[in-house]
C-alpha cells in the first residue's frame, strides 16, 4: 500500500501506548483511513508536532502516502508542522471574546511572554497563538492552554495562569508536550 516504506520493518517513534491506541483506532472504523485525523492529533499530543518522522509513520500505519497525509493535515488548523511550547496558549479574539476584552487579554500575554502570535518563549515552555472561536462565547473572553479552557478572564488573570503552568512544569519535570 505504501510504496516508500513497504520494504523493511521500520522502527517506530511512537510510545507503546500510542502504538496501541493507533492499532485500536484503525480497527474501530469501517474504513481504516478514518482514523487519520484523530491519530494525527494523538501523535501530535505525544511528540509535540507533526515531524517528518510522524507523518511517515502515520502514512505507513494507515497505508496511504506521506503526501496524502500532508495534504489532509495541512487543512486542519490545530495540526502543526513545527514544535510549539510545552504549553500552547490559544487566545480567542473572535467577536464575542473581542467584545469582552479578548484583545486586552492577548496583549497582556504578549507582554508577559515577550512573544507574539505563533511565537514560542526561549525556554520552550510557552507558545502563544491568536485563534478563532473556541466555543466558549457565553463565558468570554476565553483561552485554551493545550486542551484546558480558562474563561471569563481579564488581563489581570494572565500572570497567575502563567504561574499555574510554570508550577506544573516544575512538578512534572521537563517532560514532552502533554
Amino acid at each position: 500500500m505504501s510504496p516508500n516504506n513497504a520494504k523493511e520493518e521500520p522502527l517506530t517513534i511512537f510510545s507503546p501506548q500510542l502504538a496501541a491506541r493507533f492499532d485500536a483506532l484503525v480497527e474501530k472504523y469501517p474504513v481504516r483511513r478514518s482514523a487519520l485525523i484523530p491519530m494525527l492529533l494523538y501523535a501530535q499530543d505525544e511528540i509535540g508536532y507533526l515531524s517528518d518522522a510522524v507523518i511517515a509513520e502515520v502514512a505507513r500505519r494507515i497505508g496511504i502516502t506521506e503526501l496524502d497525509v500532508r495534504n489532509v493535515a495541512s487543512y486542519y488548523s490545530m495540526l502543526r508542522f513545527k514544535p510549539a511550547g510545552k504549553f500552547n496558549i490559544q487566545v480567542c479574539t473572535n467577536i464575542c471574546c473581542m467584545l469582552r476584552g479578548g484583545y486586552d487579554v492577548f496583549d497582556r500575554f504578549r507582554e508577559e511572554l515577550g512573544v507574539g502570535h505563533k511565537g514560542t518563549t526561549k525556554d520552550g515552555l510557552f507558545s502563544l497563538e491568536e485563534v478563532e472561536c473556541i466555543g466558549a462565547c457565553s463565558w468570554a473572553p476565553a483561552i485554551q492552554v493545550n486542551y484546558d479552557f480558562h474563561d471569563e478572564l481579564t488581563p489581570e488573570n494572565v500572570p497567575s495562569i502563567l504561574d499555574t503552568y510554570r508550577d506544573k512544569a516544575q512538578t512534572k519535570g521537563p517532560a514532552t508536550n502533554a
Binding site: 474501530k28 472504523y29 469501517p30 474504513v31 483511513r33 478514518s34 482514523a35 487519520l36 485525523i37 484523530p38 494525527l40 492529533l41 494507515i62 495534504n71 489532509v72 487543512y75 486542519y76 488548523s77 490545530m78 495540526l79 479574539t93 473572535n94 467577536i95 464575542c96 473581542m98 467584545l99 469582552r100 484583545y103 486586552d104 492577548f106 496583549d107 502570535h117 497563538e129 491568536e130 485563534v131 478563532e132 472561536c133 473556541i134 466555543g135 466558549a136 462565547c137 457565553s138 463565558w139 468570554a140 485554551q144 486542551y147 484546558d148 479552557f149 474563561d151 471569563e152
Partner: protein, 438 residues
Amino acid sequence: MPRLVSHPDEVKIVSRRFGQGASKIDRYIELGGYESAKKCLEQEPDWIINELKASNLRGRGGAGFSTGMKWGFVPKQSSKPKYVLVNGDESEPGTCKDHLIFLHDPHSVIEGTIIAGLAIGAKLGFIYLRGEYRYLLENVEKAVADAYARGFLGKNIFGSKIDFDIITQTGAGAYEVGEESALMESLEGKRGVPRIKPPFPAVVGLYGGPTVINNAETIATVPHIFAMGSAEYAAVGTPRNGGTRLFCLSGHLERTGVYELPMGYSLKKMIYEVGGGIRGGRKLKAVVPGGSSTPVLLPDEIETLGMDFDQVGKAGSMLGSGGVVAIDDQTCMVEFALRTIGFYQHESCGWCIPCREGTDWLKKSLTRFHAGFGTANDIDNIQYLAENMLGRTFCPLGDAAAMPTIAFVKKFRKEFEDHLNGKPCPYAKEGAPELTVV
C-alpha cells in the same frame, strides 16, 4: 469551567439534567434516562419518525429543517450500511450550547443517536466533536463506555435483537467541517471540503451509505420528546417551531450564559430581562441573533420579534445556531464587520472561488477601510462583492460571510462613511489595543 445560569422564564427540557451529575450513567437513569430508547425499541420506525414530525422539532444547527422529515428521507432498503452522524463540530462564533450538552448530559446524545438509528435502520452512529473539545470528548467517551458496559450499546441493545455501535472522535480545528458533507469527508480521513449536492446525505452520505446527520442539540432533544410526548413538546413553542432552544447569550450583556427558552421567546426580553440588559448602563446598538453568519438587527427591529425560525426569517435575518450577540453603543461596527469577515476568510476551505477570493477581498477591503485608507467607492464595492458571493458557492460558508456583510453596510453605512476622513477608526477608544486579525 463554563458557568451555569438560570432564569424564571426558562423551560428546561434539554438542559433539565444540567448540573445534576448526569454524566454518570446511574444518575442519568435515575433522572429518567434511556426510557425513551426502550420505548422506541418497541415501536416501528415509522412511528418514531411520525412522532418526531408531530413534535415540530427543527434542526438546531442553523438551517431549521424538520428533523422528522430528514429522517423520513432515508430509504428503507439500502444495499449499503446506513449511518447516524451527530454534528458536534460547534464552531459558529456566538455558539457554545453543545459544549454544555457534552459536559453535563452526554448520555442524552447517546440515547438520541440510538433512537435515530432505530428510526432509519442504522447499526452505527458517530459522535463528532470539534477538536478544541478534547475534555468533552473524554466525557462522551466515558459515557459511551458506560453505555456499552450496561448493554445499551453493542450487540442486542437493551436485550433486544438489535445491534448498535457508536464511534466518537474529534476534528482538528476547521469551521467548515460543521457543514454536513464536509464532516463526512473529515470522518473519512480527508480534507474537510464540501460535496456537491445532490445526491443528499440521506441517500449518499458517509462511505456512500444513506446517512442522517443532525446537530448535537437536535439529537439531545429527541429522547426528551419521547419522554414528554410530541404534542406536549410542540405546544411549548410556536406554530411550526416546536419546543425550546438553548440560546447562547454573549457580548455586552450583564448576564451572559446559555438559557433554554421556548421557541418564539421575545428577543427584546431575552436581552433586557434574561440577559440583564447591556452592561455598564450603556445602550444597545445592534444584535446578531443566531451566530456570526446571521444578518445583524437594529434595536428597533427587535421590538416585537419572537425568536423562532419563521419570525426571525421574516425580519430579514436567521435564527441560525442560537448564538445571540449583543453589541453596545461604544462598538465600532466596521471593526466588528472586519472581525466577523476575518473569521470566514480564515475558515474558507478554498474550494470554490467566490468564497475563497471573496472573503479574502472583503477582509482586505475592510482592513484598509478600518485603518482609514478607504474611499467612498469601497463602501459600495464591499456590498457589491458580498451580493455577488451570495448563492454562488457549493456550501453555505460563502453566504455566511456575505449575508452579515451586506447587513453591516446597509444598516451602518454612516459608520462606514465616518471612516472616510483619512484617519484610523473614529470610534476607537483611547489606548485600545490594535485589531490584528489572524
